[in-house]
Each structure stands twice: as structure tokens, then as C-alpha cells.
Subunit: 492 residues, 2 copies
């Protein structure tokens, strides 16, 4: 396992970077800004995918797949969207390599194989999808279209960090088409609610649901709904977004439908996505100085069983003692690992599974056989206890629920303790600088004020909370009237 | 639904192209050579993925994810592999667009944002993966590595056809690393066996397992194991390949391991994949002039229920009559659709579900209520019968199994009837020209002979069958001695 993990209070950012690698989640690749998601990290992502996919399907969505490439002429059709992504596009210009005559065994781009029109590697798929929907939609009978795709996208980022900001990332992107504005807005809200439910009930991450300010919303959207989560270092992380796109893409791609009474109208749209960035949120919500901490619902291994023995005979005795536990875990659908590697000592195994965040560890040795006991350890609280052999399943059942709940409640308490009101700009600046977390303050609703505050404090408006109390007041900066407090924070 | 489907005997290729679109499986996109996989087609692919994924995991493989891009210098490291794919590479050369001053609202490639090193969009991932494995492997304790990834790849094809040959396609690619040659060969064979089992037991496609000749094997492989399937038009389709890569990639990327006795040696490798091409094989094995025919194990909708009624009262009566069937289908995990759309007549629905290959159709109307009966239709044989209401579940259970078996057996008979021996070159040419199918013939083992036969007849060696009888003879072309017959065919 190598050197010890940096402590969070020493250097949070370094702790994160080390942890992602040491816990075997991901690593940087030889391709600038692109990561390799390792099997253990990918297994967590798969669990997240499965759960989200089920939630999408239960609400009537279907999966499909659209091309990786977007021809430039389609890409630029919706101008705001194009402008928003133009600076971070990977562009395919050629389609063939040839032998380099000067360097035998090497290849060079074949200049004769230049594309007539450049292809953009999708940073998001609205353009290519709306250009397709155009052919699918003639009348109200063809609506709604409720489609999701699981895909990779590329946004050329200059400063990348594993999971949080990578040039290529994995995500799901939903793209829906509707008859009415109201229906489309309801869809965007439904999905944002699904994201919140998933974050809280499965990832154990409490979130705040809100709307983005104009300057923070998705390029091409009328409204962006979002869920914001608070990381341990007091910075906010945008964990999911759901956009009401109005008729912008329908107009850009000329997608009209005949309504029930025969009128032709542009179609209303939404798009929405969460990505492998959620892996970063998971790490930064629950983990500690000993490594990763995983909520049982997303843990690839929920229970690890480690035998203690000195001889082959002792090992055999311990294995027989444990055997019925393994069988029952299997039948109960609890994922487990019996770590019987003889190449590693128990201490090494303890450390490895701690750093990988396995929620429950069971240890059994000759003394346990003698006493009909087991040692059971919960990763979230780093607490161990000795239990009676017969109580093992009731204890595991309890712990799986209790660890899941405890992680959420711990994060919820932290979040609640880190939302603070500021009533003056001085108070605001002090809080952002010295306390971090969310600062709830009145804002005059202008992009100018938002921009000045951002420049002076590095804090941005994370969201206009949907469930926020409507409380009139005056903007902390301009003193102009405001209808509601909004949440500011420094953000990932 | 528009015009009728072209008949297979009129124009098989046209029939295929029309069917894929009419059955809502896929369509061409605005991006040259790339397809849109529509929800119905994608639902079939998801079922295939789930089954394969389970089979891979049961044999100890884990999923992971590696970058989409391969830097040119890595791509060219394994020379044979690079040479094999160089002519069909999409190449990223720039990472930014900018506004086109001459055309307001349009974008152009920003020439200042030229990559120092071009990136190849992966046509396959050996290079990027072996460059990663290099850091993961030090000793025999790190082996084997058994990893699979589900991903998109791009091979710039000039002539594309939906599913069969597209510039971008979806696939899984396994990449494993082993201590010994024997272990790696066994892995390649294990996977080829899994592919065969999947094709036969789930897709209902009989296959022949074999080895590729040198000129047909994967660029960079020592041996390519494959499964070959026979399409209805007598052409062969390579349905899956599993490569024993020897130490070629380990040498190209300098991946050595310390063995148990301390020696340093290069690692042994395999790679293997199946793709959305399998969707094409599925269509061309079972479907008929009425549309798609699906094996129940892969059908997104296994049973469709269509009500017959003239009034709202009749509809309500039929719905109540059917209700218990729907509930029981749900509890049994049989996927179904109660098609109660009032915008379409029964005849339209019959036709739509026939063309989409729904295995079982149940129809119920007022007369059925009177007689306690139901009409049940099986898509594979286009046969309908009237059954007693109480027999519906035993009949559905029977049909699900029987249709699955019937499709396999029908395809198996067809395949067996279309493997013919040729003992002279004249006989061979006659068979290839007039009968199609597989022609089993002696071959002298040289690439020269293979090339001449290909030029003269368009038939290639599909495989050297693994289960083939060892029968000595003389090459049909050169008359030189041969140890075993090989299978020739025209191929997709």
C-alpha cells in the first residue's frame, strides 16, 4: 500500500488525489486529462448506473445511442450552446494514418485523408439528437419522447482532476421532447428530484435542490435545475443538472409538431445528466484520514471476512467455522469477500480494506472458535466489537442499514451546520474566507453583482434554493431589493 | 408503417436495410457512417450486454474503463496492430473552435489549438491498455489481470451498413494478462466458448468454432479464435473473436513480471470482443418477409396483448378480462405490453408487432369473454390458435421455450444443410457460385493459395474448425497435402 495517506487537514486536495489512487478507484492515463477507471472504482460506478437506470425506466424513459461525433455545421446550429462549448472541443480532422517514409515503423497523418467537414467529439449531444428528433416528430402522437443515453463525452479541460474534471468522462444524458412548456418543466423537475433522491438515499449525500442563476446555467437552457452538495472542505459540488431548454433546440433544428387541433408549434425540450463526477462527490462526502468510506448500497464488497491462523490446520478450522456465514451471505444477496490470500498478513488486509472503504469487516481466529465469537468492525465509525457467532446476521443486517443512515446523517449535520446567513457584504466576505460552506444571502438578481462578488471572493451563486423561504431583503452588495436569499459558496 | 417490406428472395440486402429501420432497431445518422441505435434496438442490445456481462463476471472478469483516445506514439508501438488499423483511424488534431469572423454565428477550428501529438480515436484498445498494465504488473502476484470494458470504438469504414459495418460501433473488449502461454491460450478458448454458448443458447444462432488463417487473424495476434455463423443468404458472418496475443504487446510496451522463481519474463496476453454487429447476425438468422423474428430470451417485449372492442363498454369488459393475465405476467417476470392505444386499429397493431418480432401475441375480444377463450399467436411460425383462458400461462411458458428452441433448430438445420464438401477446385467454384453456404475443402495452408481463391471466387477461409475431423487430403487449388478441411464462404 506504500506510504500513509496525507491527512485531510494538512492538505485536502492532496488527500483526495492520493485517496482516489490508493483506494484503487482511478488513475491518470498516458492521455492528457483522461483517466483510467480501475475495476474497483468502476464497480461502484456500475452500482450507481444500475440504480439510476432503474429509476429512469420506472419513470418511462428508454435508453438509446447516438453518434460520438457531431458535424461542425450541426454543432453550431444552437448558437448559445455552441458558444458555451466551443473552447473545449476535441476536433477530428482526418481519417487515415500512413507510414512515415522518413521514420520506418512510425505513422503520420495522411493529409490526403482530410475530412470535408470537421467532426466534434461530443461534449454533449443536444445537437446530434435534435437533428435526429426532427425526423421522428410530426404530430403530438409522436410525443413525448423520453430518451436517455449512457455515453462518454469529451470536454477539453486545461486543469484536470480525477473524476472531478477530466477531458473524457462517462455520464448519462437524457433528452426529452414535449408538447407543452408545462410538461417539459415538470420533466426537468421530476429528473432533478430523482437525482436528489438518488444522491440522498443511495449515495448518502444530502443535497440542496435549486435553480441556477443565468450566468451559471447550461449553455442553451432557459432554466437549469440542480442539486448541490457540500464537500468536507466547505466547497460546494454541483452533483447533477436538469435543464428546461424551452424551444431553443427545436427552433435551431426546426422541429415542429402538429398539435391535436392541427396547429404547428415548436417542440419543448429538456436535457439532464449526471457523470462520473459523482464518484468525486462520494469520496469527498464520507471518506476520512484512513481512506475511503462507502455507503453499503454502493459498496462492491459490503462485508470482508478475514481469517486469523498460524498453521494450515488452524486455517482449515477457521474456514469451516466461517463457511456457514459465507453461504448465508450469498443466499441473502450480500456481497462479500473471504480474503484468504496467504501472500498477505492480516494487518495488511485490514489496512487495504479500510482504505478501500469496505463497510463491514469480520475477523475470525482460533479464539473465536473457542468462544463461539466473531470480531466485527464498522468502517464508518472505525469501531469494533466482539459478538456471539449466532448474532452475526442480525448484526450485519443492522449495520448495513445503520452505516447507510449514519453516513447520510453525519453529512446532513455537517451540511446544516455549514449554511450561514450573511446580512452585510463584510459579513459575507468573512464567512466565505474563514468558514467556507454555503452562505445564504440576498442578491439583486443581476449578473453584474454576481460577477463582482465572484471576482472579489471566489464564491459563486450555487443555486436559488427551491425549498427556500421567501424572505424579502436587500442585496448584500448593491443594497437593491431582493425576494429571496440565494446560496453562495466556493465550488468544485 | 408505410410500404411493405421487400421480400428476401427479391433483394436480400434491401430487405435487411429496410427491416432494420422498419423494426425500429436503428437508422443512419447525419454523421457519415455512424448510426443511431433506437430504443427498441438498444433494448435488445442491453439484454445481450446483461447476459454477456454476467457470463464474464461468473468467470472472474471485472469491468473497467480506459481512455477513448490513443496518442499516436502509443498507437504505433505494436507495429502489426498499428499497420492493421492505420487506414481507418479518426484522428483528433485540435482542441478548440473559435468564432469565424467572416461568418458571424459560425465556428472554425482554432489553428492555435493544435495538439502537439495527434490522438487516435480508439479502433481497439490494446495500446492504451498495455501501456497502463505496464504500471500494474511487477510480479506473478499481480497476475492474472482479467478485465473487460464496454465501450464505443471507431473504424473509418468507407462502405457502411447498419450494425454490420459502421464507423462507430459499441462493443465489449476483454484484455487479459497471464503468467504463462498455456494460461493465455486457455483464456482465449474459454472466451470463445462463452461466445459460442451465448450465440447458441441466447441468440439462437448456431455457430462454428474455429481458428482464423494467418491472413484473417487480428493484427497483432498469434492466433485468433472465432465463431462463424451462417446467414440466410448463404454468407458467413464473423460473430465474435478471441485473440491469443502471445507476448507481442508485452514486448511492445515492455511489460515484464518476476516469476515465482525470480526470473523476469514478458507477460502473455489475450484480447476478445463482440460488438453491435451481433444485432445484424440476429436479424439475418431468424427474420422473415414479415419482419423481425426475435428469440424470447432477447425480446424486449415477449408477449403483446391486443384488445378487440367497438365501444368503451366493450373495452372495459376486455380490460377486466385481461387484467389477471397482466398481473401474473408481471409476477412471473415475463415482459409484456398491453397495447391499448385507441389511436390505432388492431390490424395496424398486429402488423407493427409482427414487424418488430414480438414472439407471442394474445388477442381478446367480446367473443373470447363469452367463450372463456383467447387467441394466441406465435411469431416464429406465424401460427395462431384459440385456447382456453385457463390454459394461457401453461401455453405462454411452453411457447417461450418452444420458440427459443425452434429458432435455434431451424437455423441449425439450415446451417447443416449448407455445409458442403468440395474435392476439386471446379466443384468448389460451382458450390460457391451456385449454392453459397460453407464449403469444406482441403487447403495447403499458404497465404498465396488463400489469396488466389479469394480473388477468383470472393470466398475466404472463415475458419479452421476446432471440432473438425482430422482428415488428410490435397489442397483443392495447389494439390499439395493438407491435414484438415477448412471452411470457405463469402462473408459479411
Amino acid at each position: 500500500m506504500g506510504k500513509k495517506l496525507t491527512k485531510r487537514e494538512e492538505d485536502y486536495s492532496k488527500w483526495y488525489n492520493e485517496l482516489v489512487v490508493k483506494a484503487d478507484l482511478a488513475e491518470n492515463s498516458s492521455v492528457r486529462g483522461c483517466m483510467v477507471i480501475k475495476p474497483y472504482g468502476y464497480a461502484i460506478w456500475e452500482k450507481m448506473q444500475n440504480q439510476l437506470d432503474q429509476m429512469f425506466k420506472e419513470t418511462g424513459h428508454q435508453n438509446a445511442y447516438f453518434p460520438l461525433f457531431v458535424p461542425k455545421s450541426l454543432f453550431e446550429a444552437e448558437e448559445k450552446n455552441a458558444e458555451g462549448f466551443a473552447k473545449e472541443c476535441a476536433i477530428v480532422t482526418h481519417y487515415r494514418l500512413k507510414s512515415d517514409i522518413k521514420n520506418p515503423g512510425k505513422l503520420i497523418v495522411d493529409e490526403k485523408a482530410k475530412l470535408e467537414e470537421e467532426l466534434i467529439v461530443r461534449p454533449t449531444s443536444e445537437a446530434v439528437i435534435w437533428n435526429t428528433y426532427k425526423n421522428w416528430i410530426q404530430s403530438y402522437r409522436d410525443l413525448p419522447i423520453l430518451i436517455n443515453q449512457w455515453a462518454n463525452v469529451v470536454r477539453w479541460e486545461m486543469r484536470t482532476r480525477l473524476f472531478l474534471r477530466t477531458a473524457e468522462f462517462l455520464w448519462q444524458e437524457g433528452h426529452t421532447a414535449h408538447e407543452t412548456k408545462k410538461e417539459a418543466i415538470n420533466e426537468a423537475i421530476l429528473i432533478n428530484d430523482i437525482y436528489a433522491e438518488f444522491a440522498e438515499n443511495h449515495m448518502g449525500i444530502p443535497v440542496i435542490k435549486g435553480l441556477k442563476s443565468d450566468s451559471e446555467k447550461f449553455a442553451g437552457a432557459e432554466e437549469t435545475y440542480c442539486i448541490e452538495a457540500l464537500m468536507q472542505d466547505g466547497k460546494s459540488l454541483q452533483a447533477g443538472t436538469s435543464h428546461f431548454l424551452g424551444q431553443n433546440f427545436a427552433k435551431a433544428f426546426d422541429v415542429k409538431f402538429a398539435s391535436k387541433n392541427g396547429d404547428l408549434d415548436y417542440v419543448w425540450a429538456t436535457s439532464w445528466g449526471v457523470s462520473t463526477r459523482l464518484m468525486g462527490a462520494l469520496v469527498m462526502t464520507h471518506s476520512d484520514d484512513n481512506g475511503l468510506v462507502l455507503p453499503p448500497k454502493l459498496a462492491p464488497i459490503q462485508v470482508v471476512i478475514i481469517p486469523i491462523y498460524k498453521s494450515k490446520e488452524e486455517f482449515n478450522a477457521v474456514e469451516s467455522y466461517i463457511e456457514p456465514i459465507l453461504e448465508k451471505l450469498k443466499s441473502k444477496g450480500i456481497s462479500f469477500l473471504f480474503d484468504k490470500r496467504d501472500t498477505h498478513k492480516p494487518g495488511f488486509k485490514f489496512n487495504e480494506h479500510e482504505i478501500k472503504g469496505v463497510p463491514i469487516r469480520i475477523v475470525a481466529g482460533p479464539k473465536d472458535i473457542e468462544n463461539s465469537s466473531l470480531e466485527i468492525f464498522r468502517r464508518d465509525k472505525m469501531e469494533k466489537e466482539t459478538i456471539n457467532f449466532d448474532d452475526v446476521f442480525s448484526r450485519i443486517d443492522f449495520l448495513i442499514t445503520d452505516i447507510q443512515n449514519n453516513l447520510f446523517e453525519r453529512a446532513q449535520s455537517f451540511k446544516n451546520a455549514n449554511i450561514r446567513n450573511a446580512n452585510t457584504y463584510q459579513e459575507f466576505k468573512d464567512l466565505i474566507k474563514n468558514k467556507g460552506g454555503f452562505v445564504s444571502a440576498h442578491w439583486d438578481g443581476t449578473a453584474e453583482t454576481e460577477e463582482i462578488i465572484k471576482k472579489e471572493t471566489k464564491a459563486t451563486i450555487r443555486c436559488i434554493p427551491i425549498d427556500g423561504v421567501k424572505e424579502k431583503g436587500n442585496c448584500i452588495y448593491s443594497k437593491k431589493p431582493s425576494e429571496q436569499r440565494v446560496l453562495f459558496a466556493k465550488a468544485y
